[in-house]
Symmetry: C2
Subunit: 248 residues, 2 copies
DNA sequence: CAGATTTTGTACGAACCGGTTAATTTTTGT
DNA sequence: ACAAAAATTAACCGGTTCGTACAAAATCTG
């Protein structure tokens, strides 16, 4: 019977040292890691493109370098596959986010960097955005199952919290905000830019939604966030220095 | 053959005066208007809940007070039904938007009203948001077909344009912005609040995403928009008057 | 080498699902 | 009143699609 092999996460204690891993160069015939990864990559594309109900298992199998049988062997069923795809996508994003080294920068600059990172990341990774959209259509039912994801995201808030505290200390950020408010704002703008590009562009055909205009839109998003967080007097100053409003 | 009846819009010249319409009180057995509307309403719910590929024609038919055959009779096929649902949804929204009488208000107040209207509308009409999300998943392919929608939305920009011009004239809005930039910002925040509520709440459980917190979140969105549009000095002034920053 | 794991391949079944055929009832035009 | 057109009903069909059963082989691990 198509039994799912024992918990993958725990069944991999051979930490790239004992068993002949792929790093060794030896071209192994049976490479479960690679097979799994391959299925996951293909599935990610298909789910992101067609949604959970729209994606076809046979189609995914065909684009894999292995067979349909293996999908069920490793992931149980369609929903299991989807859940793993979702987890993998979130994991990938949050890793990049944590790699940012913002703590040594002046607060306003750090915030700008964070916004720019988020904006460009989302802009260049529409598959992730689409997966999250799809998951929201499903009321976050599959995300709810995943313990992994929730823990990952606590870090983001802490990260922003440090930057914000430093900015308040320095007197350039206005007091009374919560880190999650700032995160929500940044997410909303960076996300919407990708998630609603199709319909928005269809209705208004705005040049900033095109490839060439994305830079200008990013600058504007930075502008919006800074005007929200900065002390009004600091905004005034920034305008004079033309740090802001380079979108005109 | 399941032919679609001649263009509905033109096939209704009996302007509620000649043929025995439903207003007449006579309980007619065959009521195409009502049948069509009933199908459309049920379909809207089903598509919004399950997406285009997720929705089931049989399910829609079952929840209708008529039969599956009628769906095909009036809308041709699944995609045709979906397209009509989408159009109806957009139409409904834009009507409310144009009913706002903003031109006689002071600019900042008018802008606040517009933001509040958009925010509450979206917050209370998640089906519309979900339909737009779904349409974006499909790359706006069905919206592209609809001539109707594009023309409707030109009005929104003009509306904001008038308010913005008045604000600049009065010296409370900073110059150099485009109406569409403001519209994009408002849309993004009001939309994201609903579209990503499921996943965002799952990850962070933030009280402002709950029913009770929506008012506070709306105030904050108003705050964000005004800080973006207002002349920095006006922001300063507004803060002193505590018109803004009531979110703390 | 033995036992477990990974892989292949096919064929199938059973439910599901979008769409149709055909016949019936009501309305409408004249 | 009557024929044509429009609205409606019910049973039906063929293709799709998820998932499995079965049979077997290749490879890794201890």
């Amino acid at each position: 019977m198509g039994k799912i092999p024992a918990n993958r996460e725990q069944a991999k204690p051979s930490v790239e040292g004992k068993g002949p891993a792929k790093a060794g160069g030896r071209p192994r015939k049976y490479d479960p890691e690679a097979t799994r990864a391959n299925i996951l990559a293909v599935a990610m594309e298909e789910f992101a493109e067609n949604g959970l109900s729209g994606a076809r298992i046979d189609e995914i199998a065909a684009k894999t370098r292995t067979s349909k049988r293996m999908i069920y062997y490793y992931f149980g069923d369609k929903q299991g596959l989807y859940r793993h795809v979702l987890e993998a996508a979130y994991q990938r994003v949050r890793l990049g986010e944590e790699a940012l080294e913002l703590d040594h920068l002046p607060p306003a600059e750090a915030l700008r960097r964070l916004v720019e990172f988020t904006f460009t990341h989302h802009s260049k990774t529409p598959e992730f955005i689409r997966l999250v959209m799809i998951e929201n259509i499903h009321h976050g039912a599959y995300l709810r199952e995943s313990e992994v994801i929730r823990t990952l995201n606590a870090g983001v808030i802490a990260h922003i919290g440090r930057v914000y505290a430093a900015g308040c200390e320095a007197g350039v950020f206005r007091a009374g905000l919560e880190p999650i408010e700032i995160h929500w704002l940044i997410s909303a703008l960076a996300f919407f830019n990708v998630s609603n590009r199709a319909t928005f562009a269809q209705i208004f055909d705005w040049d900033r939604l095109q490839e060439d205009g994305q830079g200008a839109l990013m600058a504007q998003v930075v502008d919006i966030v800074l005007r929200f967080v900065l002390e009004p007097s600091a905004v005034q100053a920034s305008c004079d220095e033309a740090h802001l409003s380079e979108t005109v």
